[in-house]
Symmetry: C2
Subunit: 419 residues, 2 copies
Amino acid sequence: MNITEQMQSMGEKAKEAARALSAASPAAKADALVRLADLLLQKEAAITEANSKDLEEARKRGLDGPRMDRLTLTPAIIREMSDACRQVAAMPDPIGAIETQWQRPNGLLVGKMRIPLGVIAMIYESRPNVTVDSGILCLKAGNAVILRGGSEAINSNLALAALVHEALEAAGLPRDAVQVVPTTDREAINTLCKLEQYIDVIIPRGGETLIRKVVELATMPVLKHYEGVCHAYVDSGADLEEALTVVFNSKTHRPGVCNALEGLLVHKDEAQAFLPMVAEKLGGAGVDFRACPRSLPLLGSTATAMSESDPGTEYHALILLVKVVDSMKEAQDYIAAYGSNHTEVICTRDLDRAMRFVREVDASMVAVNASSRFNDGGQLGLGAEIGISTSKLHSYGVMGVKELTTTKFVVFGKGQIRV
Amino acid sequence: MNITEQMQSMGEKAKEAARALSAASPAAKADALVRLADLLLQKEAAITEANSKDLEEARKRGLDGPRMDRLTLTPAIIREMSDACRQVAAMPDPIGAIETQWQRPNGLLVGKMRIPLGVIAMIYESRPNVTVDSGILCLKAGNAVILRGGSEAINSNLALAALVHEALEAAGLPRDAVQVVPTTDREAINTLCKLEQYIDVIIPRGGETLIRKVVELATMPVLKHYEGVCHAYVDSGADLEEALTVVFNSKTHRPGVCNALEGLLVHKDEAQAFLPMVAEKLGGAGVDFRACPRSLPLLGSTATAMSESDPGTEYHALILLVKVVDSMKEAQDYIAAYGSNHTEVICTRDLDRAMRFVREVDASMVAVNASSRFNDGGQLGLGAEIGISTSKLHSYGVMGVKELTTTKFVVFGKGQIRV
């Protein structure tokens, strides 16, 4: 079989598995998840052995430190995967519930029933634990999934897939509900993108180049998870101590992730008082500032003048753009121009402006007096997440189990006809 | 300006209008809709004149009867458009409501706020009333829309757009909230499909060729409205009189539309009794049958043996495929193989099988003992509709105002940070 035939065959099997899975009982799905939790702990040695092969190969090819880190499956990470399986098993099963129902004048009872999306293809980069996390979320939501992880993790991913298959079969569910693409050939991605007859949605997670490529090629819907260029606006009259805490946490808690802060917009009334506080606390923690002309003199020694390329940049590092604005309107215009619809924060005491900011700013999460780092499935209370969608269609923001489902109309009649 | 520049400029204007519209008051949107309702009646002469130009041109080019019909704006159709404006104005405004909210252990209040999608591009065929219907639904949902109707309706569409602009401006809303592509150049569609920086979603309505083309080209999400290959399954023990009424209405009420019945699947226990009833009532109304070997002898003179190409065909005519099945399972397998995820009906008295059919059959509407013709926004109680989506992402089935919106996460804190 060439790659095209191989992907087609996987698509076909996934579609068949999805049909069985959509009718599977909540108990069977939970059973598979608990069995997988156990297997991950029992078969730790086999997982580690497969992972060692990947690590050795990666070392030969000179993978850098952070990527080696992401590729490594430690006993702690294996335990986390196992815990995640148990947590997802314990969550309520979303499928089959009629969530809302109304009666029509002719007596028809019309409702919307929650159903799986069908077949999901996930394309992602090196972390092999994504294989388990994505697999179990898709399974809980009743979807079949085709997983295509980074080529450097191929042995780890196949070892994890073997355990998933064992758990599925022991629970009486089709093993093809979760399939890992067994080849590292890049042609596989191109082929998957064209299999709209089998795949209902494709989810690329990784660098912008990968996402753009999938968007260009895919003939099925794509759920994009782009970068986060997140801002905090400190309003006139804000509680500056509280704002400082929020800004500090947003920037420094984990600077390399998508919900970290990249830009700070400060109302001109507060600049004189607030920016020296920022300089001391964030500057003291090693943050470099890229400052507008008005903020530059207030930010101390780690500040340099911002260049044209700074606005809209995701630094992924301890760097913060700082800009003084004349009004909330100016902050909103700046966010509309340079934000990435990911996470935006306002620090304010003013009710009217808080509500206007929340209403008018276009981002997957808008927060009042809270850290940008809360834009996360666990933190928002959704349990596990598959990512954060920055496109508005289907699901905007954090995607948990429910966001991997859809609804259909169900109608109960007594012989009604249309007149 | 060449076509690409022209479309880019429309995209830019739409994006700006969308931002203003997302913050517009419900009162202003309703005001624009009521003003448009009035203008449509007041300016009937101008609309009819523009429509006459299109009709004359179409006559010269030899457009067929049904297409001439669809192109014609009669006073009755103009009145219907006006009524639709008033109905949509009276509907509750969906935007800005926080529909669900929960508190996290750390006191964060997390909610989901309903927001517009942004900019919608609609590509459709000849009916000029779609221009008004789509425009007002998008407006109500707070979206800017770019409308690209059939080239033969260009004068009608531009005349209607002029009234929409007058109504928008009188209500203090941006006129670019609703734009009609002013050229009939087909290149416009290709360009629109690539403007993902401005357009959030593209909705093609029309023939399969148009939809496939848009799916191939578009880099933004596409909401597809494919054909309907709809079936009714008459179960063992069904109320045959009631089933006959439902099947008759589903097939003959309006055979040319997407929710009309194309296939009848009858349990072998009922074939002897039911098929002669079908032959008499539907055959008597001019329905031709394409029959399986077991049903052929029971269907009378208008039946012929089905060919290989019959299953899965949307006849758009008084033709019905008829097949005897041994079990509900066989009916479900047939529907999974040949249905188009549009509308599927079961006629039964059995609770367990009714619930299993509803749960397991994958279609945008699944009905028990009711006509397939109810898969329609007005009939299901959604008010107006923009179409029936046969793709599962975002919205599956009838799309009304609410389906033209999405939600974002809104978080209210008191200085919470992530620990």
